[in-house]
Amino acid sequence: MIEVTKLSKKFNDTYVLKEVSTNFEKGKTNLIIGESGSGKTVFLKCILGLFSPASGEIIYNKTPLSKMSSKERTMLRKDMGMVFQGSALFDSMTVEENIMFPMKMFTNDHIDEIRDRANIVIKRVNLINANKKFPSEISGGMKKRVAIARAIIMYPNYLFCDEPNSGLDPNTAILIDNLIQEITKEYQITTVINTHDMNSVMEIGEKIIFLESGEKKWEGTNKDIFNTDNKSISNFVYSSELFKKVRKIYVKENK
Protein backbone atom coordinates (compact mmCIF):
# COMPACT_ATOMS: atom_id res chain seq x y z
CA MET A 1 0.00 0.00 0.00
CA ILE A 2 1.33 3.40 -1.00
CA GLU A 3 -0.26 6.64 0.15
CA VAL A 4 0.45 9.94 -1.54
CA THR A 5 -0.57 13.13 0.22
CA LYS A 6 -0.61 16.57 -1.38
CA LEU A 7 2.38 15.87 -3.57
CA SER A 8 3.76 18.89 -5.45
CA LYS A 9 6.78 19.15 -7.68
CA LYS A 10 8.25 22.12 -9.49
CA PHE A 11 11.02 22.64 -12.00
CA ASN A 12 12.43 26.20 -12.00
CA ASP A 13 9.35 27.78 -10.42
CA THR A 14 6.77 26.08 -12.64
CA TYR A 15 4.68 23.46 -10.92
CA VAL A 16 4.33 20.21 -12.86
CA LEU A 17 2.45 18.48 -10.03
CA LYS A 18 -0.02 20.28 -7.81
CA GLU A 19 -1.11 18.73 -4.52
CA VAL A 20 -1.88 15.26 -5.82
CA SER A 21 -3.27 12.90 -3.17
CA THR A 22 -4.25 9.28 -3.64
CA ASN A 23 -3.44 5.76 -2.56
CA PHE A 24 -2.44 2.54 -4.31
CA GLU A 25 -3.56 -0.79 -2.95
CA LYS A 26 -1.80 -4.13 -2.86
CA GLY A 27 -2.71 -6.71 -5.49
CA LYS A 28 -4.29 -4.10 -7.73
CA THR A 29 -3.24 -2.57 -11.03
CA ASN A 30 -3.38 1.17 -10.41
CA LEU A 31 -3.34 3.35 -13.52
CA ILE A 32 -2.23 6.93 -13.94
CA ILE A 33 -3.61 8.38 -17.13
CA GLY A 34 -3.34 11.75 -18.80
CA GLU A 35 -2.17 13.50 -21.92
CA SER A 36 1.45 13.71 -22.92
CA GLY A 37 3.12 16.26 -20.66
CA SER A 38 0.50 16.03 -17.91
CA GLY A 39 3.12 14.94 -15.40
CA LYS A 40 2.74 11.14 -15.28
CA THR A 41 6.43 10.33 -15.47
CA VAL A 42 7.32 13.05 -12.97
CA PHE A 43 4.66 11.69 -10.60
CA LEU A 44 6.03 8.17 -10.87
CA LYS A 45 9.61 9.33 -10.37
CA CYS A 46 8.58 11.24 -7.25
CA ILE A 47 6.96 8.12 -5.83
CA LEU A 48 10.13 6.17 -6.60
CA GLY A 49 12.25 8.81 -4.92
CA LEU A 50 14.17 9.68 -8.09
CA PHE A 51 12.85 13.24 -7.80
CA SER A 52 12.41 14.92 -4.46
CA PRO A 53 9.04 16.67 -4.18
CA ALA A 54 8.59 20.37 -3.38
CA SER A 55 6.02 19.43 -0.77
CA GLY A 56 3.78 16.53 0.19
CA GLU A 57 4.55 13.03 1.33
CA ILE A 58 4.80 9.51 -0.05
CA ILE A 59 4.08 6.83 2.52
CA TYR A 60 5.13 3.22 2.03
CA ASN A 61 3.33 0.93 4.46
CA LYS A 62 3.05 3.66 7.10
CA THR A 63 6.67 4.89 6.71
CA PRO A 64 7.06 8.25 4.97
CA LEU A 65 9.75 8.22 2.28
CA SER A 66 11.22 11.49 3.52
CA LYS A 67 11.75 10.08 7.01
CA MET A 68 13.55 6.95 5.90
CA SER A 69 17.24 6.55 6.66
CA SER A 70 19.44 5.78 3.69
CA LYS A 71 19.56 2.17 4.85
CA GLU A 72 15.76 1.92 4.92
CA ARG A 73 15.64 3.48 1.50
CA THR A 74 18.06 0.91 0.16
CA MET A 75 15.92 -1.85 1.66
CA LEU A 76 12.85 -0.33 0.02
CA ARG A 77 14.64 -0.10 -3.32
CA LYS A 78 15.24 -3.84 -3.29
CA ASP A 79 11.51 -4.26 -2.82
CA MET A 80 10.69 -2.22 -5.95
CA GLY A 81 10.73 -3.06 -9.62
CA MET A 82 10.47 -0.50 -12.38
CA VAL A 83 9.76 -0.81 -16.09
CA PHE A 84 10.88 2.40 -17.80
CA GLN A 85 9.22 4.13 -20.73
CA GLY A 86 12.08 3.14 -23.05
CA SER A 87 12.79 -0.16 -21.23
CA ALA A 88 16.20 1.15 -20.04
CA LEU A 89 17.97 -2.17 -20.56
CA PHE A 90 21.74 -2.10 -20.07
CA ASP A 91 23.10 -2.20 -23.62
CA SER A 92 26.42 -3.67 -22.60
CA MET A 93 24.77 -6.81 -21.18
CA THR A 94 22.90 -9.70 -22.75
CA VAL A 95 19.20 -10.26 -22.03
CA GLU A 96 20.05 -12.89 -19.44
CA GLU A 97 22.66 -10.69 -17.74
CA ASN A 98 20.19 -7.82 -17.64
CA ILE A 99 17.63 -9.99 -15.87
CA MET A 100 20.15 -11.47 -13.45
CA PHE A 101 21.71 -8.09 -12.67
CA PRO A 102 19.69 -7.15 -9.55
CA MET A 103 20.36 -10.54 -7.99
CA LYS A 104 24.04 -10.50 -8.81
CA MET A 105 24.24 -7.06 -7.34
CA PHE A 106 22.34 -7.57 -4.10
CA THR A 107 22.37 -11.23 -3.14
CA ASN A 108 25.18 -13.61 -2.41
CA ASP A 109 23.38 -16.46 -4.11
CA HIS A 110 25.35 -18.86 -6.23
CA ILE A 111 25.29 -18.14 -9.96
CA ASP A 112 23.38 -21.39 -10.62
CA GLU A 113 20.62 -20.34 -8.25
CA ILE A 114 20.48 -16.92 -9.86
CA ARG A 115 20.27 -18.49 -13.30
CA ASP A 116 17.47 -20.79 -12.15
CA ARG A 117 15.48 -17.86 -10.85
CA ALA A 118 16.15 -15.93 -14.05
CA ASN A 119 14.81 -18.84 -16.04
CA ILE A 120 11.63 -18.87 -13.98
CA VAL A 121 10.89 -15.22 -14.69
CA ILE A 122 12.01 -15.54 -18.31
CA LYS A 123 9.45 -18.29 -18.75
CA ARG A 124 6.88 -16.21 -16.87
CA VAL A 125 7.15 -13.35 -19.36
CA ASN A 126 7.30 -15.69 -22.38
CA LEU A 127 10.72 -14.73 -23.62
CA ILE A 128 11.83 -17.42 -25.99
CA ASN A 129 15.35 -17.90 -27.35
CA ALA A 130 16.63 -14.52 -26.37
CA ASN A 131 18.91 -15.23 -23.42
CA LYS A 132 22.18 -14.60 -25.21
CA LYS A 133 21.01 -11.69 -27.35
CA PHE A 134 21.84 -8.06 -26.70
CA PRO A 135 19.11 -5.42 -26.26
CA SER A 136 19.94 -3.93 -29.66
CA GLU A 137 19.11 -7.27 -31.28
CA ILE A 138 15.56 -7.74 -29.98
CA SER A 139 12.20 -6.15 -30.80
CA GLY A 140 10.44 -3.48 -28.73
CA GLY A 141 7.91 -5.97 -27.37
CA MET A 142 10.68 -8.31 -26.27
CA LYS A 143 12.53 -5.41 -24.62
CA LYS A 144 9.44 -4.72 -22.52
CA ARG A 145 9.32 -8.38 -21.52
CA VAL A 146 12.98 -8.29 -20.52
CA ALA A 147 12.37 -5.11 -18.55
CA ILE A 148 9.42 -6.75 -16.75
CA ALA A 149 11.47 -9.85 -16.03
CA ARG A 150 14.29 -7.71 -14.61
CA ALA A 151 11.79 -5.78 -12.52
CA ILE A 152 10.26 -8.88 -10.93
CA ILE A 153 13.29 -11.12 -10.43
CA MET A 154 13.69 -9.99 -6.81
CA TYR A 155 9.95 -10.70 -6.23
CA PRO A 156 9.25 -7.08 -5.30
CA ASN A 157 6.23 -5.82 -3.38
CA TYR A 158 5.98 -2.74 -5.59
CA LEU A 159 6.01 -2.62 -9.36
CA PHE A 160 6.06 0.60 -11.39
CA CYS A 161 5.60 0.72 -15.14
CA ASP A 162 5.99 3.86 -17.23
CA GLU A 163 3.95 3.38 -20.39
CA PRO A 164 4.70 -0.34 -20.64
CA ASN A 165 2.90 -0.71 -23.95
CA SER A 166 3.75 2.48 -25.80
CA GLY A 167 5.17 1.76 -29.23
CA LEU A 168 3.70 -1.73 -29.38
CA ASP A 169 1.03 -3.07 -31.72
CA PRO A 170 -2.44 -3.48 -30.11
CA ASN A 171 -2.15 -7.25 -29.72
CA THR A 172 1.25 -7.18 -28.06
CA ALA A 173 0.14 -4.21 -25.95
CA ILE A 174 -2.78 -6.21 -24.56
CA LEU A 175 -0.53 -9.21 -23.93
CA ILE A 176 1.88 -7.05 -21.95
CA ASP A 177 -0.98 -5.44 -20.00
CA ASN A 178 -2.44 -8.81 -19.12
CA LEU A 179 0.98 -10.10 -18.16
CA ILE A 180 1.45 -7.24 -15.73
CA GLN A 181 -2.00 -7.79 -14.27
CA GLU A 182 -1.46 -11.53 -13.84
CA ILE A 183 1.87 -10.96 -12.14
CA THR A 184 0.26 -8.39 -9.87
CA LYS A 185 -2.36 -10.90 -8.73
CA GLU A 186 0.02 -13.83 -8.55
CA TYR A 187 2.64 -12.17 -6.35
CA GLN A 188 0.21 -9.72 -4.66
CA ILE A 189 2.21 -6.69 -5.80
CA THR A 190 1.20 -3.03 -5.50
CA THR A 191 1.41 -2.04 -9.14
CA VAL A 192 1.35 1.50 -10.54
CA ILE A 193 1.17 1.97 -14.31
CA ASN A 194 1.42 5.14 -16.38
CA THR A 195 -0.45 5.03 -19.63
CA HIS A 196 -2.40 7.00 -22.18
CA ASP A 197 -3.69 3.91 -23.91
CA MET A 198 -7.49 3.59 -23.60
CA ASN A 199 -7.31 -0.16 -24.23
CA SER A 200 -5.22 -0.56 -21.08
CA VAL A 201 -7.64 1.60 -19.16
CA MET A 202 -10.52 -0.67 -20.15
CA GLU A 203 -8.62 -3.93 -19.73
CA ILE A 204 -6.76 -3.52 -16.47
CA GLY A 205 -7.92 -0.25 -14.89
CA GLU A 206 -8.85 -1.42 -11.41
CA LYS A 207 -8.09 2.01 -10.13
CA ILE A 208 -7.54 5.00 -12.35
CA ILE A 209 -6.18 8.44 -11.59
CA PHE A 210 -6.55 11.10 -14.23
CA LEU A 211 -3.94 13.85 -14.33
CA GLU A 212 -4.30 17.09 -16.24
CA SER A 213 -1.53 19.71 -16.14
CA GLY A 214 -0.24 18.19 -12.94
CA GLU A 215 -3.55 18.13 -11.11
CA LYS A 216 -5.64 15.12 -10.23
CA LYS A 217 -8.94 15.73 -11.97
CA TRP A 218 -10.64 12.38 -11.49
CA GLU A 219 -10.26 9.04 -9.76
CA GLY A 220 -12.26 5.81 -10.13
CA THR A 221 -12.40 2.40 -11.82
CA ASN A 222 -12.77 1.42 -15.47
CA LYS A 223 -16.48 0.78 -14.78
CA ASP A 224 -16.97 4.30 -13.41
CA ILE A 225 -15.38 5.93 -16.41
CA PHE A 226 -18.51 5.42 -18.56
CA ASN A 227 -20.83 6.87 -15.99
CA THR A 228 -18.98 9.97 -14.99
CA ASP A 229 -19.87 13.38 -16.29
CA ASN A 230 -16.53 14.90 -15.27
CA LYS A 231 -15.63 17.18 -18.19
CA SER A 232 -11.86 16.74 -18.18
CA ILE A 233 -11.86 12.98 -18.29
CA SER A 234 -14.67 12.80 -20.81
CA ASN A 235 -12.65 14.99 -23.13
CA PHE A 236 -9.66 12.72 -22.70
CA VAL A 237 -11.47 9.40 -23.03
CA TYR A 238 -13.87 10.37 -25.77
CA SER A 239 -11.39 12.07 -28.00
CA SER A 240 -11.86 9.10 -30.32
CA GLU A 241 -15.13 8.34 -32.13
CA LEU A 242 -14.79 4.69 -31.28
CA PHE A 243 -15.01 5.32 -27.56
CA LYS A 244 -17.97 7.66 -27.97
CA LYS A 245 -19.83 4.76 -29.60
CA VAL A 246 -18.64 2.29 -26.99
CA ARG A 247 -19.99 4.58 -24.29
CA LYS A 248 -23.39 4.86 -25.95
CA ILE A 249 -23.73 1.09 -26.15
CA TYR A 250 -22.43 0.59 -22.62
CA VAL A 251 -24.83 3.10 -21.12
CA LYS A 252 -27.75 1.55 -23.04
CA GLU A 253 -26.89 -2.00 -21.94
CA ASN A 254 -26.58 -1.05 -18.31
CA LYS A 255 -29.86 0.84 -18.03
Binding site: K45, L48, L50, S70, R73, T74, R77, K78, M80, M82, F84, Q85, G86, A88, L89, F90, D91, S92, F101, P102, K104, M105, F106, F160
Partner: protein
Protein backbone atom coordinates in the same frame (compact mmCIF):
# COMPACT_ATOMS: atom_id res chain seq x y z
CA UNK B 1 30.26 32.84 -12.47
CA UNK B 2 27.66 31.58 -9.99
CA UNK B 3 26.92 28.76 -12.45
CA UNK B 4 30.61 27.91 -12.48
CA UNK B 5 30.83 27.67 -8.69
CA UNK B 6 27.68 25.55 -8.73
CA UNK B 7 29.35 23.14 -11.17
CA UNK B 8 32.46 22.90 -9.01
CA UNK B 9 30.32 22.22 -5.95
CA UNK B 10 28.30 19.54 -7.70
CA UNK B 11 31.49 17.96 -9.02
CA UNK B 12 32.88 17.54 -5.51
CA UNK B 13 29.56 16.31 -4.13
CA UNK B 14 29.60 13.72 -6.91
CA UNK B 15 33.07 12.54 -5.82
CA UNK B 16 31.98 12.39 -2.21
CA UNK B 17 28.83 10.40 -2.99
CA UNK B 18 30.93 8.06 -5.08
CA UNK B 19 32.74 6.94 -1.96
CA UNK B 20 29.67 6.56 0.24
CA UNK B 21 28.38 3.11 -0.63
CA UNK B 22 30.50 0.60 -2.47
CA UNK B 23 29.42 -1.80 -5.17
CA UNK B 24 29.89 -5.51 -4.48
CA UNK B 25 33.53 -6.45 -5.00
CA UNK B 26 32.82 -9.19 -7.56
CA UNK B 27 30.86 -6.80 -9.72
CA UNK B 28 33.38 -4.00 -9.25
CA UNK B 29 36.29 -6.17 -10.34
CA UNK B 30 34.60 -7.02 -13.63
CA UNK B 31 33.75 -3.37 -14.22
CA UNK B 32 37.35 -2.31 -13.62
CA UNK B 33 38.67 -4.90 -16.05
CA UNK B 34 36.27 -3.67 -18.69
CA UNK B 35 37.27 -0.06 -18.13
CA UNK B 36 40.96 -0.96 -18.43
CA UNK B 37 40.15 -2.47 -21.77
CA UNK B 38 38.02 0.47 -22.95
CA UNK B 39 40.14 3.31 -21.62
CA UNK B 40 43.72 2.05 -21.54
CA UNK B 41 44.27 -0.84 -23.93
CA UNK B 42 42.24 0.69 -26.71
CA UNK B 43 44.30 3.90 -26.52
CA UNK B 44 47.68 2.23 -26.96
CA UNK B 45 47.58 2.24 -30.76
CA UNK B 46 46.89 5.90 -31.29
CA UNK B 47 49.28 6.99 -28.53
CA UNK B 48 52.12 4.90 -29.97
CA UNK B 49 51.55 6.22 -33.46
CA UNK B 50 51.42 9.87 -32.45
CA UNK B 51 54.38 9.64 -30.08
CA UNK B 52 56.65 7.96 -32.58
CA UNK B 53 56.00 10.48 -35.33
CA UNK B 54 55.93 13.59 -33.18
CA UNK B 55 59.20 12.45 -31.57
CA UNK B 56 60.67 12.18 -35.06
CA UNK B 57 59.44 15.61 -36.09
CA UNK B 58 60.68 17.28 -32.88
CA UNK B 59 64.15 15.82 -33.42
CA UNK B 60 64.31 16.83 -37.09
CA UNK B 61 63.06 20.36 -36.32
CA UNK B 62 65.69 20.77 -33.62
CA UNK B 63 68.41 19.48 -35.90
CA UNK B 64 67.43 21.78 -38.77
CA UNK B 65 67.14 24.84 -36.54
CA UNK B 66 70.60 24.33 -35.05
CA UNK B 67 72.46 25.81 -38.02
CA UNK B 68 75.22 27.28 -35.88
CA UNK B 69 78.17 24.87 -36.27
CA UNK B 70 79.35 25.75 -32.77
CA UNK B 71 76.37 23.98 -31.22
CA UNK B 72 77.19 20.35 -30.55
CA UNK B 73 75.06 17.81 -32.44
CA UNK B 74 74.29 15.83 -29.32
CA UNK B 75 71.91 18.64 -28.28
CA UNK B 76 69.34 17.12 -30.64
CA UNK B 77 69.09 14.02 -28.47
CA UNK B 78 69.00 16.15 -25.36
CA UNK B 79 66.20 18.39 -26.65
CA UNK B 80 64.15 15.44 -27.83
CA UNK B 81 64.44 13.75 -24.45
CA UNK B 82 63.48 16.88 -22.51
CA UNK B 83 60.52 17.69 -24.74
CA UNK B 84 59.16 14.16 -24.62
CA UNK B 85 59.54 13.62 -20.90
CA UNK B 86 58.55 17.04 -19.65
CA UNK B 87 55.74 18.12 -21.90
CA UNK B 88 54.86 16.03 -24.89
CA UNK B 89 54.14 12.68 -23.26
CA UNK B 90 52.37 13.88 -20.10
CA UNK B 91 50.54 16.98 -21.31
CA UNK B 92 50.08 16.72 -25.04
CA UNK B 93 49.04 13.07 -24.95
CA UNK B 94 46.64 13.83 -22.09
CA UNK B 95 44.92 16.45 -24.18
CA UNK B 96 44.59 13.95 -27.01
CA UNK B 97 43.17 11.53 -24.44
CA UNK B 98 40.67 14.21 -23.36
CA UNK B 99 39.36 13.85 -26.89
CA UNK B 100 39.48 10.09 -27.05
CA UNK B 101 38.90 8.73 -23.56
CA UNK B 102 37.04 11.83 -22.36
CA UNK B 103 34.43 11.90 -25.07
CA UNK B 104 34.04 8.13 -24.79
CA UNK B 105 33.29 8.45 -21.07
CA UNK B 106 30.90 11.38 -21.51
CA UNK B 107 28.99 9.79 -24.33
CA UNK B 108 28.71 6.39 -22.70
CA UNK B 109 27.49 7.81 -19.37
CA UNK B 110 25.37 10.41 -21.18
CA UNK B 111 23.67 7.72 -23.26
CA UNK B 112 22.90 5.80 -20.09
CA UNK B 113 21.44 8.99 -18.65
CA UNK B 114 19.14 9.78 -21.59
CA UNK B 115 17.96 6.20 -21.98
CA UNK B 116 17.12 6.12 -18.24
CA UNK B 117 19.65 3.34 -17.55
CA UNK B 118 21.06 5.45 -14.71
CA UNK B 119 17.56 5.85 -13.27
CA UNK B 120 17.09 2.10 -13.58
CA UNK B 121 20.27 1.49 -11.57
CA UNK B 122 19.19 4.02 -8.98
CA UNK B 123 15.74 2.45 -8.57
CA UNK B 124 17.43 -0.85 -7.85
CA UNK B 125 19.38 0.83 -5.07
CA UNK B 126 22.76 0.94 -6.80
CA UNK B 127 25.10 3.81 -5.88
CA UNK B 128 25.35 4.96 -9.48
CA UNK B 129 28.32 7.25 -8.81
CA UNK B 130 30.32 4.40 -7.39
CA UNK B 131 29.15 1.92 -10.01
CA UNK B 132 29.91 4.13 -13.00
CA UNK B 133 32.76 6.44 -11.98
CA UNK B 134 34.88 4.58 -9.45
CA UNK B 135 35.96 1.79 -11.86
CA UNK B 136 37.06 4.45 -14.33
CA UNK B 137 39.24 6.13 -11.71
CA UNK B 138 40.85 2.83 -10.78
CA UNK B 139 41.41 1.94 -14.43
CA UNK B 140 43.01 5.34 -15.00
CA UNK B 141 45.56 4.76 -12.23
CA UNK B 142 47.46 2.69 -14.79
CA UNK B 143 47.35 5.57 -17.26
CA UNK B 144 51.00 6.52 -16.44
CA UNK B 145 51.87 3.24 -18.14
CA UNK B 146 50.64 4.74 -21.42
CA UNK B 147 52.79 7.78 -20.82
CA UNK B 148 55.90 5.64 -20.30
CA UNK B 149 55.24 4.03 -23.66
CA UNK B 150 54.72 7.45 -25.19
CA UNK B 151 58.01 8.77 -23.77
CA UNK B 152 59.90 5.76 -24.96
CA UNK B 153 58.42 5.72 -28.45
CA UNK B 154 58.77 9.50 -28.79
CA UNK B 155 62.48 9.34 -28.03
CA UNK B 156 62.87 6.30 -30.22
CA UNK B 157 61.04 8.13 -33.01
CA UNK B 158 63.49 11.02 -32.62
CA UNK B 159 66.43 8.69 -32.73
CA UNK B 160 65.11 6.83 -35.74
CA UNK B 161 64.39 10.02 -37.71
CA UNK B 162 67.77 11.59 -36.92
CA UNK B 163 69.93 8.58 -37.58
CA UNK B 164 68.16 7.39 -40.73
CA UNK B 165 67.84 10.96 -42.01
CA UNK B 166 71.51 11.65 -41.39
CA UNK B 167 70.95 14.56 -38.98
CA UNK B 168 73.07 13.12 -36.17
CA UNK B 169 75.04 9.99 -35.60
CA UNK B 170 74.01 7.18 -33.34
CA UNK B 171 76.64 8.13 -30.73
CA UNK B 172 75.77 11.84 -30.76
CA UNK B 173 72.10 11.14 -30.16
CA UNK B 174 72.76 8.67 -27.36
CA UNK B 175 75.24 11.09 -25.77
CA UNK B 176 72.56 13.75 -25.83
CA UNK B 177 70.05 11.41 -24.23
CA UNK B 178 72.39 10.79 -21.34
CA UNK B 179 73.39 14.43 -20.90
CA UNK B 180 72.49 16.16 -17.62
CA UNK B 181 69.73 13.75 -16.71
CA UNK B 182 67.74 15.02 -13.72
CA UNK B 183 65.78 12.14 -12.13
CA UNK B 184 63.42 14.63 -10.54
CA UNK B 185 62.10 15.49 -14.00
CA UNK B 186 60.66 11.99 -14.20
CA UNK B 187 58.96 12.42 -10.82
CA UNK B 188 57.57 15.71 -12.00
CA UNK B 189 56.28 14.09 -15.18
CA UNK B 190 54.59 11.26 -13.30
CA UNK B 191 53.01 13.46 -10.66
CA UNK B 192 51.53 15.48 -13.51
CA UNK B 193 50.42 12.37 -15.35
CA UNK B 194 48.67 10.99 -12.31
CA UNK B 195 46.77 14.22 -11.73
CA UNK B 196 45.81 14.36 -15.41
CA UNK B 197 44.56 10.77 -15.16
CA UNK B 198 42.21 11.77 -12.33
CA UNK B 199 40.97 14.73 -14.37
CA UNK B 200 40.45 12.48 -17.41
CA UNK B 201 38.37 10.03 -15.40
CA UNK B 202 36.21 12.46 -13.44
CA UNK B 203 35.44 15.58 -15.47
CA UNK B 204 34.05 13.68 -18.48
CA UNK B 205 32.05 11.50 -16.06
CA UNK B 206 30.57 14.63 -14.52
CA UNK B 207 29.53 15.96 -17.92
CA UNK B 208 27.87 12.67 -18.82
CA UNK B 209 26.19 12.25 -15.48
CA UNK B 210 24.56 15.65 -15.25
CA UNK B 211 23.55 16.14 -18.85
CA UNK B 212 19.93 16.71 -19.79
CA UNK B 213 18.07 16.05 -23.01
CA UNK B 214 18.39 13.49 -25.78
CA UNK B 215 20.84 12.01 -28.27
CA UNK B 216 21.75 15.41 -29.73
CA UNK B 217 22.70 16.70 -26.30
CA UNK B 218 24.97 13.68 -25.76
CA UNK B 219 27.05 14.95 -28.68
CA UNK B 220 27.08 18.46 -27.30
CA UNK B 221 27.99 17.22 -23.83
CA UNK B 222 30.98 15.34 -25.29
CA UNK B 223 32.25 18.52 -26.92
CA UNK B 224 31.80 20.59 -23.76
CA UNK B 225 33.45 17.84 -21.79
CA UNK B 226 36.48 17.88 -24.11
CA UNK B 227 36.84 21.65 -23.75
CA UNK B 228 36.63 21.62 -19.95
CA UNK B 229 38.86 18.59 -19.54
CA UNK B 230 41.58 20.20 -21.69
CA UNK B 231 41.25 23.49 -19.84
CA UNK B 232 41.56 21.68 -16.52
CA UNK B 233 44.63 19.81 -17.77
CA UNK B 234 46.32 23.02 -18.96
CA UNK B 235 45.58 24.85 -15.71
CA UNK B 236 46.74 21.90 -13.64
CA UNK B 237 49.88 21.73 -15.79
CA UNK B 238 50.90 25.32 -15.16
CA UNK B 239 50.03 24.98 -11.49
CA UNK B 240 52.13 21.84 -10.98
CA UNK B 241 55.00 23.25 -13.04
CA UNK B 242 55.09 26.41 -10.96
CA UNK B 243 54.97 24.37 -7.79
CA UNK B 244 57.57 21.73 -8.65
CA UNK B 245 60.03 23.20 -11.12
CA UNK B 246 60.47 26.79 -10.00
Amino acid sequence: MIKFIEHIGRYFIMLQKMLEKFTKFDVLRKLILREIDDLIISSLGIVSLISFFVGGVVAIQTAINMENPLLPRYLVGFATRQTMILEFAPTFISIIMAGKVGSFITSSIGTMRVTEQIDALEVMGVNTYNYLIFPKIIAMTIYPFIIVISMFLGIFGGYFACVTGGFTTHTDFIDGLQLDFVPFHLNYAFIKTFLFAMILATIPSYHGFFMKGGALEVGKASTTSFVWTSVAIIIMNSFVTNLLLT
